[in-house]
Amino acid sequence: MPLNDLLSELGIMPLRAIAFQSLLLMVAIVLEAMVLRQQLRLGYRTSMQYAATLNLLATSLGWVAFLAIEAVLPLALRSQIISYVLFNRFYTNSWLDALPVVVVVVAIAAFFITYWIKLQGLLWLLQLLGQKPVDTTPEAIEDNRRQRYERARRAQVEEQRGNSPRALAVLQANALSFTAILVLLLVVNQTGVVGW
């Protein structure tokens, strides 16, 4: 049967991960947009766009990091990851006793790295959106250079003053979304919704 052949060819697909991640991303984006909107006094649409961009950036960079690191891990640890992904449990091998510590350390590291990526991402995004169209005449360039220099100086001063509410807002947003995701994961694992 050709359809059956195709299905066997496709094999095991990460469909649940995709569905679940989409759900978690939506929750995280909505929550973070709320925080950014309150803390940074942004418009509704703008805060949603910022939150969506930052979360998608952090998530996709997280995937890239996971896929890169997974490839170079020792075999015993890799097979624990395989066991977790395929069977939702760890199995008995030399890493079993160390795993709770590893998981907690990785989770805390993930929180701070995500925070840093989101903060940097917000700075990049503001830079990307705040640029004025570049004039190409020589005087304009000269003018522009002086302007840019002054703007940079002012920005430096502003950065020192303006950075902290931004950093605080991103930290709060990140903490809120991580908490929500953790609660959701715990609830799902407790109630066994995963065995859909």
């Binding site: 094999g11 697909m13 998608l56 997974e70 395929l86 990307l128 705040g130 169209p133 065995g195």
Partner: protein
């Protein structure tokens, strides 16, 4: 009736003509024709045995024109899937087919992984680069859209890559497929697939052949002697199975452990052969495959001497019969204390 048919045909021809002949030269049909023309020219060039560069250049132009033309056609006809324009994704798919299709081997993996990113490039390049190859500066709204789209396409690309990573796990540990992934929070197997047997079955078959060499069709006393040194025989069999399986080396071979235990059964023995999986498994206690063999002494007819004195007992020979089934059992055959 005939008239109706005739007018229907005429209508069809007119519509076909409208579809095939563009109203202006600057239309998607032109680009598709360019692609066709370029492809025919590349065929011609190949027939005339020109340099590979010429053929390649013409084929490249053909592919790029095809991607452009199809994308343009879909965009012109406002093809939407759930409100999302599909034109850039189709163009990206055609470009990926072209870029990676000629690689051969496992070309699908890089093609699928690159697809979202190439599609993003298809969307981004026209808004960022103007016709004279100078950099355009789109308004902030568009830039925000592009940033969002880039992150999204990177996420899609990662999902594809995750899929291929799972496939490479399965290639390294084929027995994982034989287990149930019902509890997984990540993966789903569409029901109705034929599920392969775990590799432990092969281990058991090899072990059965080795056992047959050792204890089948041998004088019964030597079999009894063989059974006395059980631990030694286990080591030997394990080693020989490993060296036999070594030819098809796979990461999971070290996760299968072979074991057997004779249980007395009347005159002979029931040999239980076990292939114990010590890798990742769905059930917390793991599982093992069991093959049951019967090792029995048999009297050989015809070997009895003609003038056998009373009380003469013929040498008994051994016979080994194994069942084909290898039922799968949860847990460990020797209980929990051995595991770990």
């Amino acid at each position: 009736m005939v008239r109706g048919l005739f007018s229907f045909l005429r209508q069809t021809f007119i519509e076909l003509g409208n579809l095939l002949l563009p109203p202006r030269y600057f239309a998607w049909q032109t680009v598709i024709y360019l692609s066709l023309f370029s492809w025919l020219m590349s065929l011609l060039a190949r027939l005339l045995e020109t340099t590979a560069f010429t053929v390649g250049l013409l084929a490249t132009i053909s592919w790029i024109c095809l991607a452009l033309g199809v994308g343009w056609a879909l965009e012109a006809n406002k093809a939407r899937l759930f409100g999302i324009p599909i034109a850039p994704w189709v163009s990206g798919a055609i470009l990926c087919l072209f870029l990676f299709g000629s690689w051969g081997g496992r070309w699908l993996q890089p093609a699928l992984v690159a697809w979202p990113l190439v599609s993003f490039a298809v969307i981004a390049v026209p808004t960022l680069v103007s016709w004279d190859f100078s950099f355009k500066n789109p308004p902030p709204g568009v830039r925000q859209q592009l940033a969002l789209l880039f992150c999204l396409s990177l996420l899609f690309s990662s999902w594809f890559q995750f899929y291929f990573r799972i496939q490479s796990w399965v290639r390294a540990y084929p027995s994982l497929v034989a287990d149930s992934v019902e509890n997984s929070a990540f993966v789903y197997r569409i029901p109705g697939q034929t599920i392969a047997l775990p590799a432990g079955v092969t281990h058991l078959t090899v072990a059965e052949d080795l056992l047959r060499e050792q204890v089948d069709d041998k004088p019964w006393p030597s079999v009894e002697r063989w059974l006395l040194n059980l631990e030694g025989q286990r080591q030997v069999i394990r080693q020989r199975v490993r060296s036999q399986m070594g030819r098809t080396t796979s990461l999971e071979d070290s996760l299968w452990q072979l074991d057997f235990q004779p249980l007395s059964n009347g005159d002979g023995y029931t040999l239980k052969l076990w292939a114990i999986w010590s890798g990742p498994a769905a059930s917390p206690s793991g599982y093992y495959l069991e093959k049951t063999c019967l090792l029995m002494p048999v009297n050989r007819g015809g070997l009895v001497p003609e003038n056998a004195p009373p009380g003469y007992s013929t040498t008994q020979w051994s016979s080994l019969t194994c069942s084909l089934e290898t039922p799968r059992q949860a847990g460990h055959p020797r209980g929990a204390e051995v595991r770990g």
